[in-house]
């Protein structure tokens, strides 16, 4: 049979087309043109290379997806601390840095610790100003799912206790105490299973606990010049630390829940007596019980437990 029009057209598709001289090869009908034209718009104030000194631009790098970039940014900031310590840069810097306490990368966390140390050495008032946020994130780290972050939280806490221990103890003594207990597995509720910790971690946690209790419950012996002592204890002078009336919570409305016992919600640990009482009434029996176990085991944990026990005996 003779071929139909359709069949002829189909056959035509499979015929090889003759190449013509001087003309390029014919393009297939389904060819896609992938060529492109690129142009640049030069906006002067966005050039990274020209404004290396401006640190505000680097703040956003702290949230970079690459942990190396974050780490390097932190190191850069750490180098710049001596120059910017008294500028307005510090608050936004620290506000962006503090959430990195819960960062996944260990290196970022350790760099952050170095940064805090640097800041603390130059001016501890900066850390005191942001105590609330620091405590919040330390707590977050203490209750993090990742155990590495949990482990580092105690290091952060001991670093902070070095520089602004008084302030932290006044604001959040009970919270931190509870957090450390949960890290150590000394919880009051038996629902949480006791996690097995290695000796090193336990010792580190106990040292942090020691420091916290020492800062919070031991009366500070100020053996410095008498005049300084007098001026620092006169309550009618202008205070030399930031946000002196923040603890009054005059501008916050406290939510009242029916379930929470009023004593703990309203408890203010601003004064030494209250902290000592909280320690004695609620936590001492647990501590003593656990300490005895560790002392018997000996080793590093035993040493830390021993020193903690001595401190508690001194307090009583």
């Amino acid at each position: 049979m003779s071929k139909t029009k359709k069949q002829k057209q189909k056959a035509q598709d499979f015929q090889k087309k003759k190449l013509k001289v001087g003309k390029p090869k014919a393009k297939a009908s389904n060819v896609t043109d992938t060529s492109f034209v690129s142009r640049t718009i030069s906006v002067k104030n966005q050039h990274l290379g020209e404004h290396d000194d401006d640190l505000t631009k680097r703040l956003s790098l702290l949230k970079h997806h690459n942990s190396t970039v974050r780490k390097e940014t932190l190191q850069t900031f750490q180098k710049m601390i001596p120059t910017i310590i008294n500028t307005r840069m510090m608050t936004p810097l620290l506000t962006q840095c503090i959430p990195l306490m819960c960062d996944e990368s260990r290196q970022v966390r350790s760099t952050l610790m170095d940064l805090f140390n640097e800041v603390g050495q130059h001016n501890d008032q900066v850390l005191k100003l942001l105590c609330k946020m620091l405590v919040l994130y330390v707590n977050m780290a203490m209750t993090h799912i990742t155990s590495a972050i949990q482990a580092d939280s105690a290091k952060f806490l001991s670093c902070l206790l070095k520089y602004c221990g008084d302030e932290i103890c006044r604001q959040a003594f009970v919270k931190l105490l509870t957090g450390l207990f949960s890290l150590l597995g000394w919880n009051q509720t038996k629902s949480q299973s006791a996690r097995k910790l290695n000796a090193k971690q336990t010792a580190a946690y106990m040292d942090t606990l020691y420091e916290l209790i020492r800062q919070g419950c031991q009366e500070s012996v100020q053996a410095d010049t008498d005049t300084e002592l007098r001026s620092s204890t006169n309550q009618h002078l202008i205070p030399d630390y930031p946000q002196p009336y923040e603890y009054l919570k005059l501008f916050t409305r406290q939510l009242q829940t029916k379930d929470s016992p009023s004593t703990m919600v309203d408890l203010s640990t601003q004064d030494l007596g209250a902290r000592q009482r909280v320690l004695k009434e609620q936590n001492l029996p647990i501590i003593h019980r656990q300490l005895d176990i560790y002392i018997k085991e000996g080793g590093e944990t035993g040493k830390s437990a021993n020193s903690l026990k001595k401190l508690l005996e001194d307090l009583q």
Binding site: Q235, H236, L237, I238, P239, Y241, P244, Y245, Y247, L248, K249, L250, P261, S262, T263, D266, L267, S268, T269, Q270, D271, L272, G273, A274, R277
Partner: protein
């Protein structure tokens, strides 16, 4: 000037016919001292007295009323009339009163009759008061008539207690001997009022009844049986009857507390049981006397009818009302009050708490009974609070020896939640008016306590209660959880018959602030006084301190915004908070100052701008002058400075004339010495004498060496340190200055 005064005869005539404001004018005229004239005694004054008596004898109520007022005014302002005619007027008045009493009955009382009775009794009382202090007048005119007046008043008391009780109270106190024959009858009248009609009376009348009952005990009760022969030789105390009265009331508390044993299981508290057993006082007086335990009927209480339980607190309140006058009224002789017994009764009453004592097993099932019992027990405790209030107000410091047990008992008054140590704030809010008196009691105890208290738990609880009860209560909030669900379910099921009942509910959600029960200023005053006292005497833990600070600041700000100024009690509280910051690192001085801006407060002004008391400053120098002088001194040698110690007073006065002076008396009293005048040199300050006292040159002469030694050291310091001359350092470094230097304020202080 008798020609310028209106003659009394005219006034007398006008008295009869005048009405309204004219009567007022005549009375005003009668007060004139011009009528105190012996010449008028024979002619005009008797006329006036006769007219008044005619008015009093008239049948018209209005005339009697006029007569009463006219007699009172005449006798009050005219001693001649009082002395001569007072007796007659008194006779007419009380005879009229007798007549009115005979025909008086409670059911048929015209308004004018009441007014007449009132004016007759008040006139009687005033005339008696006027006559009382004067020996001849009272002997001749008053006392003989009392024998008729007293029974008349006693009869009227049963019908109009409010009018007669004040008069009889005075008579009992001042004329108890004359009253004696009528004492028994009066006792019967009072007993009837107390036992049967007490609840219907006004609070004022109730207290009058109790006071009269107490004053009846100024008259000795005699036992019908003869006294014990062995004791007959002892002279009885004056206050024997008074004491018997107190003991008889105290003896009635025990049976009522034993009644409470039926409700609470007192076996759990053996101490309380022992205490209640010890409240036995009826063995201390003869039993046949007409004491108060015989006048009150027994209580009829039925546990099957819970509302009858309310008779218990009612009876207790009555007993406290009866006891209070015994403890507080003035007496003509000293009385012995069994304070220990009263405190024991108080402890027994406060011990009836369900915080630590469970209910009896049999009654726990009945919910209605249980709720009534809880309320009744709170009121039983409250009657103890009232008792202690009376004791502390009258015997404040005498109760101090029993303070620990008192405070322990007071702690029981605060209701706790069942099986827990936390305070039941809802129950406290229901008893807000009782808590007001409770805090008043604490405020009266506080001035006696001082700094000796060590227990903080009780006061921490009190602070929580005080602050919780000081909040405004929004009644609409209590309903918001339940309201919408109910209304919706109604709407879904039925047709909307009436929208009115539902429509009005919307106000509770949209205008919830209209349904707020605001706390009264009286409450705030008591609470602020309590908190100020607490802050001044104790160092509170920071939880309570912070709460008090928040309360003080927020409420003061609220008042300032609403009313424009801060009430006095809040200012006191702010002062107490600033001056006693307790354990806090910093006081709220800046906050308080900004709150009180505009209203100049002395305390805060002193704290912000400390300055010296004006009287002690001898001399004030400008800073520039002081610096120049200091520089000059550094150049002087030690020997020159030794000579300067012997300078005479004249040079001192010369110096002072040059400088700016603030006058003081002590300066002028310094005696002038006779030494030779020397060139003016600076005098040294003696370091042994405090800076701000008069520097006596004689002292300088005596103690010559030590200042010199010190001076050398300090001079060296000045040279080495080269400090800027602040005024105080100047005074210590450069002792050659006589002056008290000025304190330089920095710019910050002056804001």
């Amino acid at each position: 000037m008798s020609s310028e005064i209106l003659p009394l005869t005219t006034l007398a005539k006008q008295l009869e016919y005048c009405e309204g404001s004219q009567f007022q004018l005549i009375l005003k005229k009668l007060t004139s001292p011009a009528y105190i004239d012996e010449q008028l005694l024979k002619t005009e004054l008797p006329l006036v007295a006769t007219k008044i008596q005619k008015l009093l004898r008239s049948n018209q109520d209005y005339d009697i009323w006029k007569g009463c007022h006219a007699s009172v005014v005449l006798c009050s302002y005219n001693p001649l009339a009082l002395c001569v005619h007072g007796g007659q007027l008194l006779t007419v008045i009380y005879s009229r009163l007798e007549q009115k009493t005979e025909y008086h009955s409670a059911s048929s009382e015209a308004f004018s009759e009441k007014i007449v009775l009132k004016s007759l009794t008040s006139a009687l009382s005033i005339l008696m008061d006027l006559m009382r202090g004067k020996p001849t007048l009272s002997r001749e005119s008053l006392v003989p008539k009392l024998k008729a007046i007293i029974p008349c008043l006693v009869d009227l008391t049963a019908l109009e207690p409010e009018l007669c009780l004040p008069i009889l109270k005075e008579l009992l106190l001042k004329n108890s001997t004359t009253f004696r024959p009528y004492a028994n009858k009066y006792r019967q009248v009072l007993s009837k009022l107390i036992s049967q009609e007490y609840g219907n009376l006004d609070p004022n009348v109730q207290s009058l009844v109790c006071e009269n009952y107490a004053y009846l005990h100024l008259i000795k009760l005699q036992a019908q049986n003869s006294q014990d022969e062995h004791q007959a030789h002892h002279k009885p105390f004056h206050d024997e009857t008074w004491r018997i009265g107190i003991l008889s009331i105290l003896a009635q508390f025990k049976p009522i507390l034993e009644l409470c044993d039926e409700m609470l299981d007192l076996d759990h508290d053996q101490d309380l049981k022992k205490l209640i057993k010890s409240l036995q006082y009826d063995n201390l007086y003869p039993t046949d006397l007409p004491t108060s335990d015989k006048l009150l009927p027994g209580l009829k209480v039925d546990l099957n009818e819970p509302m009858t339980l309310w008779e218990i607190p009612q009876r207790l309140n009555l007993l406290i009302d009866l006891l209070s006058p015994f403890l507080s009224l003035p007496t003509p002789y000293a009385v012995r009050i069994p304070l220990g017994a009263c405190i024991s009764v108080f402890e027994g009453l406060l011990g009836m708490t369900r915080n630590f004592l469970p209910l009896r097993r049999e009654i726990r099932r009945d919910a209605e009974l249980v709720s009534v019992i809880y309320d009744v027990l709170s009121h039983v405790q409250f009657s103890g609070v009232r008792l202690l209030n009376v004791l502390v107000q009258n015997f404040g410091k005498c109760c101090l020896s029993m303070l620990p047990s008192i405070l322990g008992s007071l702690e029981f008054f605060i209701p706790l939640q069942l099986k827990s140590k936390s305070i039941d704030i809802k129950r406290c809010k229901l008893m807000k008016s009782e808590f007001l008196q409770y805090f008043q009691l604490l405020n009266s105890i506080f001035p006696h306590i001082g700094y000796q208290l060590q227990e903080l738990d009780f006061f921490q609880k009190l602070v929580e209660v005080a602050l919780a009860l000081s909040e405004d209560e929004n009644l609409a909030n209590l309903l918001t959880n339940e309201g919408p669900a109910k209304t919706q379910s109604n709407k879904a099921g039925k047709k909307q018959r009436k929208d009115n009942s539902v429509g009005a509910l919307s106000d509770m959600y949209t205008h919830a602030d209209q349904f707020i029960l605001r706390t009264s200023l009286a409450w705030y005053d008591q609470i602020n006084l309590f908190l100020s006292g607490l802050l001044s005497n104790l160092k509170l833990p920071s939880s309570q301190q912070v709460k008090i600070i928040r309360y003080g600041v927020q409420k003061s700000l609220g008042w300032k915004q609403q009313v424009g100024h801060i009430p006095e009690s809040f200012v006191e509280l702010l002062r107490a908070i600033v001056v006693n910051p307790g354990n806090e690192r910093v006081s709220i001085l800046p906050i308080a100052v900004s709150l009180l801006k505009g209203s100049s407060d002395e305390l805060f002004d002193l704290l912000c701008h400390p300055r010296l008391p004006v009287n002690l400053i001898h001399n004030v120098k400008g800073l520039a002058n002081s610096i120049e002088e200091q520089n000059q001194e550094e150049l002087l040698s030690n020997e020159d400075l030794e000579e300067a110690a012997d300078e005479p007073e004249e040079e001192e006065s010369q110096e002072k004339e040059e400088n700016v002076e603030i006058e003081s008396n002590t300066k002028r009293q310094i005696p002038e010495t006779e030494s030779e005048p020397e060139p003016p040199k600076r005098q040294r300050l003696n370091t042994n004498v405090p800076l701000f006292q008069a520097q006596n040159t004689e002292i300088l002469k005596v103690d010559n060496e030590p200042p010199v030694v010190l001076k050398e050291e300090k001079q060296v310091e000045v040279v080495q340190e080269q400090q800027p001359a602040s005024a105080q350092e100047e005074a210590s470094d450069s002792e050659s200055e006589m002056v008290i230097p000025q304190i330089q304020l920095s710019d910050d202080d002056e804001e």
